[in-house]
């Protein structure tokens, strides 16, 4: 299968990233993901998982390589074209990254900032359809009565629900989640994963999630990618991930 023939989904070719010249964080990642389903990326801290996700929506500049989203190479994009690409990609963050002093509704509607004009954003004159969609998403993430609360008044789990709603507000073609459950307690972590996987499945948005918790990865993902030292060293369905793979990914023996 030639990569160029893939017009849907995400294709990454020879992605290299070095923050400091000579110190490779990503050592030539090649990856093809279909336009649906849940992919979990596991691996030790500092192995480049976050960098990989942030290269996709260009919060981090790739050093070399190509990233094709539904056939369009994202790497050479600049200015307005880059913003047009970014609004097609939703992102959920480990520490939620809500604008603390804005209301829940304003945070969710900030997912439309790539679509509305500056004046609409400033005067909060969002199109009625956007506001209706925001309320629908608030219901969907289980916060129907929190629209006018300030984001810094919410608990961690509630904040992440708003984070998910903000990302889905973009009507993205791809959802990235960078350690979305690492700051949450185990039960809330499962609830957030259920919510995220449920909402992306129902809207047909592919989800790539960086995750520390191997059990959660096995439980929710259809495909697991194991990274170590800036390279992919495992790629397959959860059933095929075995103990010796985990040893290879995380190193050491005693912890298993």
């Amino acid at each position: 299968m030639s990569d160029r023939a893939v017009k849907s989904g995400l294709v990454i070719e020879g992605l290299v990233k070095e923050y400091v010249p000579g110190k490779l964080v990503l050592r030539g990642i090649d990856l093809a993901l279909p336009a649906k389903g849940i992919t979990a990326i596991i691996g030790p801290s500092g192995t480049g998982k976050s960098t990989l996700l942030r290269c996709i929506n260009r919060l981090v500049e790739p050093t070399a390589g190509r990233i094709l989203l539904n056939g369009q190479d994202l790497v050479p994009l600049r200015g307005r074209a880059l913003r047009m690409a970014r609004r097609r990609i939703g992102m959920v963050f480990q520490e939620y990254n809500l604008v603390e002093r804005l209301s829940v509704m304003e945070n969710i509607l900030s997912g439309r900032l790539g679509y509305v004009s500056f004046w609409q954003a400033w005067l909060r004159r969002y199109p009625a359809a956007d506001i209706e969609r925001a309320f629908t998403l608030l219901d969907a993430v289980g916060l129907p009565d929190h629209a006018s609360q300030r984001a810094d008044a919410l608990s961690g789990g509630q904040r992440q629900r708003v984070g998910i709603a903000r990302a889905l507000m973009q009507q993205p073609e791809l959802l990235l989640a960078d350690e979305p459950t690492s700051s949450l307690d185990p039960r809330t972590a499962v609830e957030i994963m259920e919510l995220m996987t449920g909402l992306t499945a129902s809207t047909g948005v592919p989800l790539i999630v960086n995750i520390h918790n191997v059990d959660l990865a096995r439980r929710f993902a259809q495909r697991i990618i194991g990274m170590s030292g800036g390279s992919i060293i495992f790629d397959g369905p959860p059933e095929t991930l075995e103990t010796h793979h985990l040893r290879q990914i995380y190193g050491g023996e005693d912890w298993l």
Partner: protein
């Protein structure tokens, strides 16, 4: 027994600090002798002061119209220069923040802000009086420059301390640069910006009473004239009015600041 020397080292003598202390005291004594700061001079001064204070009492409010006119002009100078300063400081603060603007722009803006802050506002007021003539306009111009320097500098520092995570999240939505500032930056610094502005308004109320002394409008001119004519009872009335106004402003702005939190 062997632990004793270790314990004694817990608070070792700081000889450089002691030396600096001795030098400081010695220089203070030397400077006092040079400036003829003696007890005799002090007691003569105290006697003069008591005569002066006696002439200030009771304060004379009979010329209250003159007083009110000057006071209103001072308040107007303070309000106008604060408003202009705030409006100008907002874009300058954004341009001076190192995490937002390109380096040449921040350096240029920081240079301008430093220039605004480099001269005391009374000196700036004298320059404006010489350049554009006596009156409130010179006072407004001088205090506007002082306000721009103060608010823009602190505002830029506040922007440099924002959480970049919130900014990153807004950038990730595909928002343009103006929308990133609007949603990612300003909500994080808005209350501090208002705090700086209120503080500067407080300062301007106080400073606007002084620029009149150099001819730049406001109650300072009235005060200076009263001093020159030895109308010390009128001086007392003016001073009491200024103090009452500053107290009032302090209370009001304290309330507003508490409400902002």
């Amino acid at each position: 027994m062997s632990s004793f020397p270790i314990r004694s080292r817990a608070f070792p003598p700081n000889w450089p600090m002691r030396l600096i202390g001795v030098l400081f005291v010695a220089y203070t004594l030397y400077a006092m002798s040079r400036l003829d700061l003696t007890w005799a001079r002090f007691s003569i001064g105290m006697g003069e002061a008591s005569r002066f204070l006696a002439r200030m009492w009771p304060p004379n409010f009979t010329r209250w119209e003159l007083l009110a006119e000057g006071l209103i002009e001072s308040v107007q100078i303070a309000l106008l220069s604060s408003a202009l300063g705030i409006i100008l400081a907002l874009p300058l603060g954004l341009m001076a923040a190192r995490n937002l603007a390109p380096k040449p722009l921040t350096m240029l803006t920081r240079g301008f802000i430093a220039f605004c802050r480099s001269l005391h506002y009374v000196i700036v007021a004298i320059l404006f009086v010489k350049a554009i003539g006596f009156g409130a306009l010179a006072g407004i111009a001088a205090l506007t420059i002082a306000s721009v320097g103060f608010i823009a500098k602190l505002f830029a520092e506040a922007i440099e301390e924002v959480s970049m995570k919130q900014v990153e999240a807004i950038r990730a939505t595909g928002a343009g640069p103006a929308a990133v500032i609007l949603y990612g930056i300003l909500p994080q610094v808005a209350s501090r910006f208002l705090g700086f502005s209120l503080y500067q308004l407080d300062s301007n109320l106080r400073n606007s009473t002084l620029v009149g002394i150099v001819g730049a409008g406001g109650i300072g001119g009235t005060l200076f004239a009263a001093f020159k004519r030895f109308d010390y009872d009128f001086v007392a009335a003016i001073l009491m009015t200024i103090i009452a106004m500053i107290f009032l402003a302090e209370v009001v702005s304290g309330r507003i600041r508490a409400a902002l939190r």
